[in-house]
Amino acid sequence: MSYDVTVIGSGPGGYVAAIRCAQLGLKTAIIEKYDTLGGTCLNVGCIPSKALLDSTEHFHNAETTFKEHGININKPKADLGQMIKRKDGVVKATCDGIDYLMKKNKIDVFHGVGSFRDKNTIIVDGKKKEEIETDKVIIATGSKPSSLPFIKIDKKRVITSTEALKLKEIPKHMIIIGGGVIGMELGSVYARLGSKITVVEFLDSIIPTMDKTMGKELQKATKKLGFEFLLSHKVYEVKTSAKEVVVKAESTKGEKVEVKGDYCLVSIGRRAYTDGLGLDKVGIPTDKAGRVEVNDHLQTNVPNIYAIGDVIKGAMLAHKAEEEGTLVAESIVGQKPHINYLLIPGVVYTWPEVASVGYTEEQLKEDGRAYKTGSFPYKALGRARASMDIDGLVKVLADKNTDEILGMHIIGARAADMIAAGVTAMEYRASAEDVARMSHAHPTYMEAVKEACLAATENRPIHI
């Protein structure tokens, strides 16, 4: 068989690349190691975690706010088995959707491990061994949870995000190593179900890549859920017995602590996954972090081979991979697309949600850029009070001289959806006043964005 393009990996980067290639008239094949398409995002990442986050959020509301809303029910009982079953249904429906999209776009799907024989030949090792001749190759093999050398992931007590999405019981005390996005999201799931959560984070803030205000606010909000935090703590030992995990950590000041729990979630990040791909056969190098090296066109040192998504540098985000998939497909046919990496938003699906785009205040300070800040709290919003979602704020950073929006950071209900407005504004290089002068429907959460922009413009919010 011979193709114009072969995509290895069917996650959001790979399948989007394949569809865009097919749309552009290229004969396209996609290779997936697992039985279902969709990669980490659909199977063990974004989608299943959101399914559990939504279920547990409902449960949490039933426990905490229904009474205030005037809904009297018996004390609700969490059925984790049902939650996980529902999640599996959501995952299956979404993965089936990808199967449909492949058929619709006449993309040939191969199941098996794809590896290079040479730069134009891919071996698919599945139920049978097949060989694909191809003009171009897109590596989209994604990433795997990473760990520390001294931690043994037994997948029973010491687990990764993959196992955390299918636990059989609600943990009594889950120790989470790493206060990043994954740790905070999965911690929220179990905190809402009653687990005690202890987050051990090496840095001095949770979600450390985001604006510091966001980390601080999220820490406050999750503390209410029963999270405990050990910030600036370095884990140096994880011991397991049949029913217990003991995590030992040391603070930057040298104080040693020992935390005992029944589960330990290791969520210190993910690493690029290229095992068995045979990069050595074609001479493509990887960097220290194991990532495939690419140029600005996402092309490897072998000109007909491209790489996208988690397997290359940059934020490990599904939507970043999707943009890259599109970019490569269009580049292959000679178009000249461009990605503005600064404007790829980051989102944390806790409740309140956190979403952010552009520069953080810390980055602007470090760059010595003259900026101004405007923020507006959710609790001053009529809409937020009506729904009892008053935790959160919108923070807008703008250039001190030109008023151009340089960053938008939101923590609060529906932040994940609202951040798109920030991306749009910033793609057009809107000023804070531009957004402040646009009509925002009332009553909505988006009014907080408008008010924060008013505050950034010349500190003249209306409702505070």
Binding site: K136, N295, D296, H297, Q299, P303, N304, S331, I332, G334, Q335, K336, P337, H338, N340, D399, T402, E404, E427, Y428, R429, A430, S431, D434
Partner: protein, 502 residues
């Protein structure tokens, strides 16, 4: 990835082309739409433009003859130039800062074409005091025939002498340039890319930081067209470049390539020779000219024309004509008209020999010789006998523009019955033109010179043009040719005859 570029279909009945010249070398980084190569068919020369930006991989040598559809080169767009990567040529040139040499060069209105005596400055593309590079377009000049760009004759600081809208005679000073050394195009800020100038020159576009910022879709389109966003005027809020702006944007014409492609002038103290391959256009021209000389019985008859009456009519009606028809009243319409009348009276001059037969046409398809950078071309004014003065002038402008841009189709150059050529634009007093085969006669116009002539027994000074008619004696007798030329003279010296047909 590499994009293979193939020889495009350039015209019916053309099956192969020859590569006359590579304007870019193997390994050069080329921009999209940049002219990379000159191709020739036996009929005309074409420019091949890059279909993508990137590194050029030449697949065929100069002189190679390729079939339509054959791969001529590849462009590796992975090597497309990046913004922040200064091009080689720029770095070379910008090493030295421009330095004034103290010399001031005066630029005059150049002789721009057939019988054009004056031009109007339609716009200055540079401001007074701007630093301009050699061959950089500095002004747009309009004659009654066409608009063209005036390019800087030396590099340096511009001093404008004539304002926009001024009408100047050929040879009148138009600007001065204080000669500076080491000026490159990158030193000379172009009025479109300099935001400072923009804000001072154009008060409507605000000085917003976002002016010229392309939307995501616009950025992609511009990138694919190879256009720098700074060359596009944004119509969006605060001067942002919208998708529509990007779609409408056109690449600045590759003005530079013409000058760049010229061989570097050799040092005057050295003696040298240069050998160039004949282009196939040049080969075709030479073959045909020699065969005309060999196969026809060609000779030339002369006469002279007092141009005063026509010049009087022109100066009297020039403005009104232009106002009404939006085209200048030139000499060519008078000559074409006069020839058409004379051709119909002396059909042999309009005829041609086809093997053992003689063909006479009752229409006059007049070929006009136009000099282009690639050589002489002769587009045809069809049914010139039926056209008004206005119609002729407009057709000439259309054909001359297309000729200059190298866009003439083969149809537009074939099938004339008679040719007019004007050596006068280059200053020729008298010449014996060669017939444009298979036609039988050609009229040569020459320069207009104030000469003493006898009028009613008195010596007077009149603007006089000598006319030459070369003809094929095999089909045209002396009586016919001479009478034809006398008739043309009569009609030109007394243009009222054109009106009443006497």
């Amino acid at each position: 990835m590499s994009l293979a570029m193939k020889v495009p279909a350039v015209g019916e009945s053309i099956t192969e082309v020859t590569i006359s010249q590579w304007l870019k070398k193997d390994g050069d980084i080329v921009e999209m739409d940049e002219v990379i190569c000159e191709l020739e068919s036996d009929k005309a020369t074409f420019e091949l433009t890059a279909e993508a930006a990137g590194k050029l991989i030449v697949k065929a040598e100069e002189g190679d003859t390729l079939e339509i559809g054959a791969v001529i080169c590849e462009i590796d767009d992975s090597a497309a130039p990046k913004k922040d990567e200064p091009k080689e040529e720029k770095t070379e040139k910008t090493e030295s800062k421009p330095e004034a040499t103290g010399e001031v060069h005066e630029m005059k209105v150049p002789a721009v074409g057939e019988s054009i005596t004056e031009v109007t400055i339609s716009s200055w593309m540079k401001n007074d005091g701007d630093v301009v590079a050699l061959d950089e377009p500095i002004a747009e000049i309009e004659s009654d025939k066409a608009t063209f760009e005036l390019t800087a004759e030396v590099a340096g600081k511009l001093q404008i002498l004539a304002k926009e809208g001024d009408t100047l005679e050929i040879g009148a000073p138009i600007c001065k340039i204080e000669v500076m050394e080491g000026v490159s195009a990158s030193d000379a800020p172009s009025s479109s890319s300099s935001s400072e100038e923009k804000s001072s020159a154009d008060s409507t576009s605000s000085d917003s930081y976002a002016a010229g910022h392309p939307s995501p879709a616009a950025a992609k389109i511009l990138s694919e067209k190879g256009i720098d966003p700074s060359d596009v005027k944004g119509t969006g809020k605060d001067g942002r470049i919208t998708k529509e702006d990007a779609e409408a944007a056109q690449k600045q014409t590759t003005q530079k390539t013409a000058s760049e492609s010229q061989p570097a002038s050799t040092d005057s103290s050295e003696r040298g020779q240069r050998r160039e391959k004949m282009t196939s256009l040049r080969k075709t021209i030479s073959k045909r000219l020699v065969s005309v000389k060999n196969e026809t019985a060609m000779l030339t008859t002369f006469n002279e024309v007092n141009m005063k009456p026509i010049m009087d009519i022109r100066s009297k009606y020039k403005e009104k004509f232009k106002e009404k028809y939006e085209v200048g009243l030139g000499f060519m319409s008078f000559f074409t008209k006069a020839c058409c009348i004379a051709l119909q009276e002396w059909p042999a001059v309009n005829g041609q020999i086809d093997d053992e037969e003689m063909v006479y046409s009752d229409y006059c398809d007049v070929s006009i010789a136009v000099s282009t950078p690639r050589g002489l071309v002769v587009p045809v004014i069809r049914n010139a006998e039926k056209l008004s003065f206005e119609g002729i002038e407009k057709e000439i402008i259309r054909l001359a523009t297309r000729a200059r841009d190298g866009k003439l189709s083969i149809d537009e150059m074939q099938g004339g019955t008679f040719t007019i050529t004007n050596g006068g634009i280059f200053g020729s007093m008298l010449s014996t033109p060669i017939i444009n085969a298979p036609q039988s006669a050609i009229l040569g116009m020459h320069n207009i010179v104030q000469r003493p002539i006898a009028e009613n027994g008195e010596v007077v000074i009149r603007p006089v043009m000598y006319l030459a008619l070369s003809y094929d004696h095999r089909i045209i007798d002396g009586r016919e040719s001479v009478s034809f030329l006398v008739r043309v003279k009569e009609l030109l010296e007394d243009p009222t005859r054109l009106l009443i047909g006497i």
